[in-house]
Amino acid sequence: MAKSFVQEFTKGLWAEIPPFRLVLGLCPTLALTKSLENGIGMGVAFTFVLILSNILISMLRNVIPKQVRLSCYIIVIATFVTIVELLMQAYAFPLYQKLGIFIPLIVVNCIVLGRAEAFAAKNRVMLSIADALGMGIGYTLALGALAAFREIFGAGTLTFPFINYSIHNVLGASYKPFVFLVEAPGAFVCLGLMLCVMNMLGRK
């Protein structure tokens, strides 16, 4: 399976984009897309963990015995999640408070474990980096798109990540926000409709 770096990278951006094509990692997708800031912040943290864990697991792939491989992957991933958690507490505290318990929950995010099991355990380090980058950026884009949609139409604002800036009244001051979209049911329905759109685009 001699695929190139670019091929592995781009597949995570469209053909196998989580969470739309690869129906995994739905919990943060539903919970953290109330605002663009949360969505992209989570995407970046997730990408960090995915890249680092893919690298380490790919380096150790010939050393980890088959019977205990899942526990080993979980330990590796949990370590990197703890590192990212502490880094965020130190350098990005407001974002850390907003993301709450979803940062430790990256450990049980099906995507991270799934890529470790399905890809990093069987491929060289460079390809694993490509895969992780592609999936991570794809996930961040997906979260960003969903979050932007929900926030603009559901709350009328747009908060940008990492820079202290947000636009209020994106659609004009007289726009009455469609609050359903930022509430729990709106999350499910929006994701379902986005999946539908992806399916329609995929068939063409």
């Binding site: 129906v23 899942l70 979980i74 949990a78 318990i101 049980v108 994701l191």
Partner: protein, 191 residues
């Protein structure tokens, strides 16, 4: 006593772990196609969570906090949950083989169930006492099971309807879950 009852109501209905706190979606969409697997999964999650919730509470209060090791929380919790799930698997294999074969691959999947890890973390974040932890560790998965069983019924009905092709399978499932979540929002007026 009234406090615990309120906590139970809150965990099952108002702050339903699945429909209001978005945790536990992967098995929700994967297991809920048939009633039998849904009920089996719900039972397994309740069993694992009651044990996991109490053990992780104990670890957090007696080992992590006194020795200033709170950064090990994520790592220790996930290890406890993973080992508990393996233990439950072995236990079920020996004692109730029918349930074990019925659950199939979904039992190891409880390890990556956000709801299990999520409830353990919520117990610590909300600073529950041991009794409150027990109550929440039992009622959160009970709420999860309730949502799961209701949703399985919904999905069995959807199978008989004519759904347009792009919406089939997961997409219409998510829209259905959204409608359920909307219904559960009505409980916010309760507590």
């Amino acid at each position: 006593m009234g406090d615990y009852f309120l906590l139970a109501i809150s965990c099952i209905f108002v702050n339903n772990i699945l429909l209001a706190q978005y945790l536990g979606n992967c098995p929700f969409l994967g297991v809920s196609k048939k009633m039998e697997t849904a009920t089996g999964m719900a039972m397994a999650v309740i069993f694992v969570l009651v044990l996991a919730g109490s053990i992780t509470w104990a670890i957090s209060h007696f080992i992590l906090k006194p020795f200033d090791l709170e950064y090990l929380q994520t790592l220790s919790f996930i290890l406890v949950i993973a080992s508990l799930v393996s233990f439950v698997e072995l236990f079920l294999k020996k004692s109730i083989p029918a349930l074990y074969s019925g659950l199939g691959i979904f039992l190891p999947l409880i390890t990556t169930n956000c709801a299990v890890m999520g409830v353990c973390l919520i117990n610590i974040k909300e600073d529950y006492s041991f009794l409150q932890t027990l109550v929440s560790s039992f009622t959160y998965p009970a709420g999860f099971g309730l949502a799961l069983v209701l949703y399985a019924g919904l999905r069995e009905r959807i199978l008989l309807a004519r759904v347009p092709k792009p919406l089939q399978d997961t997409a219409i499932g998510l829209v259905g879950a959204g409608m359920m979540s909307l219904a559960f929002m009505a409980f916010k007026g309760m507590a």
